[in-house]
Symmetry: C2
Subunit: 182 residues, 2 copies
DNA sequence: CGCAGTTAGTTGGGCATCAAACGATAAACT
DNA sequence: AGTTTATCGTTTGATGCCCAACTAACTGCG
């Protein structure tokens, strides 16, 4: 069965992107060693496209949160899971996967791991023996509290970048995108 | 070597999220078949967090673009790659990876595949025999044109959701997040 | 010159994710 | 009741991504 550390330490990450300024097609300033020659890369239409910027921003933010949640010894994926279980006691795995925007099969190892580590309790339902009901244990609640603290710090960080004026509208747009595309 | 279609058809996807209204802990409305009982799931603090909404929006948008680029028989990952090569002829793989925000090792199979399919030309440099210079072939340019059309349709779609008034500010914020977090 | 340190690209290992297929169970329809 | 269809969670196979380690090649400093 090889229980191995599913979703183990997400470890570092960076991908600085190194966004250059201009749009020259200069190609190859040939940075000699140690010179940090700031290669001017043209992003062309990419720079103006929402999809591309959305991806870059999401990944940066995700990695930042990864680092934070590591401080608590959890991976970011656990966080949404624990929160949703906490807020919806007895939720099934399928409901959980829909809420989290993941495929249900992705959740199998996650839940398995959380159960194994005593964060989540999984019980079969009386009236439908296919589904599980998920609930947090005391340990799970404690971990969630810690993770929530991390998340708050992370959010403060993002808030600072966005600015309080635009924050509400920004989230509203994100929700609209998630809900209305296609 | 198993050349298989690297980054092949991304195929379907959905993850509707099915955002429900309230926050009851009612547990198990027990939707009978065909009833589509709209289980009310509480997102708790998640609903207000930027990170979570960013992830959901990005994934929705990405999947939508996946579907579109499939119409042209390409995967979304190819698109940024082709665009960046087109705008920066002779770019190296490492520069490319930094611009695209990916690890350079992620680009190895991508470039390999694009070369194999005659989209990209890879030539060793005279003065540094480690690096490659990448350039689009005629076929590559043609494919890029098609992909760009897809992307424009996709962007129009996103624009419609965001609204012209907020678009500029929205992108600005995304860029700031990508650049300034941590 | 010659070796230490750095850089370009590849390889291998691991994780997260999705899709399709599957077994068990439940509901719907006749 | 019996058959068909839908649903829950798991399994399997594939992809994309990261990181660390590796090889080849280049640079710099003595």
């Amino acid at each position: 069965m090889a229980v191995q550390f599913i979703n183990g330490p997400v470890v570092e990450r960076r991908a600085k992107t190194n966004v250059a300024r201009n749009g020259s097609r200069g190609v190859k300033p040939r940075a000699k060693n140690g010179e940090a020659a700031a290669k001017p890369i043209s992003f062309g239409p990419l720079a103006a496209w929402i999809g591309f910027n959305l991806r870059m921003a999401q990944e940066t933010a995700f990695q930042a949160f990864s680092r934070r949640s590591q401080e608590v010894g959890e991976s970011p994926g656990r966080f949404a899971t624990l929160t949703l279980i906490a807020r919806n006691p007895g939720i099934s795995q399928t409901e959980l996967s829909q809420a989290a925007g993941r495929d249900k099969s992705s959740l199998t190892p996650v839940v398995e791991d959380l159960v194994r580590r005593g964060m989540v309790e999984r019980a079969r339902t009386r009236d439908d023996r296919r589904t599980y009901r998920l609930n947090l244990t005391t340990a799970g609640k404690k971990t969630l509290t810690q993770l929530t603290r991390c998340a708050r710090r992370h959010e403060r960080n993002l808030d600072a970048v966005i600015g309080p004026r635009d924050r509400k509208r920004f989230i509203q747009i994100l929700k609209k995108i998630a809900a209305e595309i296609e």
